[in-house]
């Protein structure tokens, strides 16, 4: 569960939304019969959370006034140091599914295969998302702020 929270936090960059997502994920999980069929629980939880977040963003996209990105992290009272800020901002510039892929692989240590299953895409897509995500983060950190945020 700590891992799920960590993933949610990195994905949404908002402590409250992240914890809501985790909770919704747990509730879905508890209600599902899947729990009784064995199988890989961990990936499955990531799958639920990733889907819930995608639904959330779709819902937000239909409401243009809502703010979708919060840079500040409620839990970090002292304020994260500059490096942490930078990576946070860099992640924020990524398209949602690129961010999810990168986090699943880098932060959560999923294999390409697992990340592909979680996102319901072929491995090739995982690799191209990973490549684009890394390229864009590097560009951002190198000071080349993208004029346009990729919006899917």
């Amino acid at each position: 569960m700590p891992a799920l929270r960590r993933y949610a936090r990195a994905l949404t960059r908002n402590a409250e939304i992240a914890d809501d997502l985790v909770q919704d994920t747990l509730v879905r999980a508890l209600r599902s019969e899947h729990l009784f069929h064995g199988g890989e629980i961990r990936s499955w939880l990531y799958t639920i959370l990733t889907n819930l977040n995608r639904n959330r963003l779709r819902a937000l996209a239909r409401r243009p006034v809502e703010q979708t990105i919060e840079d500040n992290d409620a839990a970090g009272s002292a304020g994260p140091e500059a490096g942490a800020r930078d990576i946070e901002r860099a992640l924020a510039t990524l398209a949602e599914e690129q961010r999810a892929t990168l986090l699943l692989v880098v932060l959560e240590g999923l294999s390409y295969r697992e990340a592909a299953d979680v996102q319901g895409v072929p491995i090739g897509t995982v690799m191209s998302r990973l490549a684009r995500a890394r390229m864009q983060i590097k560009a951002y950190l190198d000071g080349e702020r993208p004029a346009l945020r990729r919006v899917k």
Partner: protein, 270 residues
């Protein structure tokens, strides 16, 4: 080996960083990097990114878990009787526990149990209504139990459960369509939630629960991204919840109020 000397692809560099590279290519890639400083720098940058991400978010897993993630509570809801007709109870029970913890700590849930002490209070009703609002407006596939197409049945059913002839406003003139409704556990027994939706997907809910509080004027409450108007009329508490825009919400609440007031039964069922 043929593999050993073939040029290294960009995909292989990623795989190398992520530990996905087949063992028989490890050496080839390492050798390639030694000979190609540009690619080596790239790989180093990716590794630095990964380190930064782990450094930034890794500690979150060590933070104390909020009580609302208590699986035992969540599971208790899950293990409620789940035979066909009681099926929806499972969801309601889960939602109630969820709602309670969402309110911050256990206050919401305790307030629910202890509501006999102070039923009908503004806080209690708006908290519950906002929680229900928050939970169900994000539902894409199952926002309601009975759809707006079955309006007569829906109103009849919930009126029966609340033992009160509910007046369900038609908010078409505010550009809102009735999505449907559902039954909820409320502070004073069953509560009803009706959901409305604008063409752009903006959702409002109107919450009904019995109360013995005296008639009130409309009161406003804002809670993070949502807000609510509460009023009491003839033994029924109403909470109109919606997005944070106060003025817009007031328009909608006012429209609902006017219609309900106009159609109010002379003698409220008691």
């Amino acid at each position: 080996m043929n593999d050993r000397d073939s040029p290294v692809s960009i995909d292989e560099l990623h795989a190398y960083v992520d530990g996905e590279l087949p063992a028989d290519r490890q050496q080839a890639v390492a050798a390639w990097l030694a000979a190609h400083p540009g690619d080596a720098a790239r790989v180093a940058a990716w590794r630095a990114q990964a380190d930064a991400i782990r450094a930034r978010y890794g500690a979150i897993g060590a933070e104390p878990e909020p009580p609302r993630f208590d699986l035992a509570s969540l599971a208790r809801a899950r293990n409620a009787p789940s035979r066909s007709s009681i099926r929806s109870w499972r969801g309601i029970a889960a939602a109630a526990v969820l709602a309670a913890f969402l309110a911050g700590g256990t206050i919401g849930w305790l307030a629910h149990g202890a509501s006999a002490a102070a039923p009908g209070r503004f806080d209690t009703f708006t908290t519950q209504a906002l929680e229900a609002h928050k939970i169900y407006v994000v539902e894409v596939r199952h926002p309601v139990e009975v759809g707006g197409a079955e309006r007569p049945h829906l109103v009849q059913w919930l009126s029966k459960r609340l033992d009160y002839p509910l007046r369900v406003p038609d908010l078409g003139s505010n550009g809102l369509k009735l999505v449907g409704g559902r039954l909820l556990p409320g502070p004073t027994g069953p509560a009803a939630l009706f959901m409305y939706e604008s063409p752009s997907g903006e959702r409002f809910t109107l919450y009904y629960a019995r109360t013995d509080a005296a008639q009130t004027a409309m009161r406003y409450r804002a809670a993070d991204r949502f807000s609510a108007f509460y009023w009491v009329e003839n033994g029924l508490a109403y909470v109109m919840s919606g997005p944070g825009d106060r003025d817009h919400l007031l328009e909608v609440a006012q429209a609902a109020y006017d219609q309900i007031d106009k159609n109010a039964p002379a003698q409220p069922a008691r």
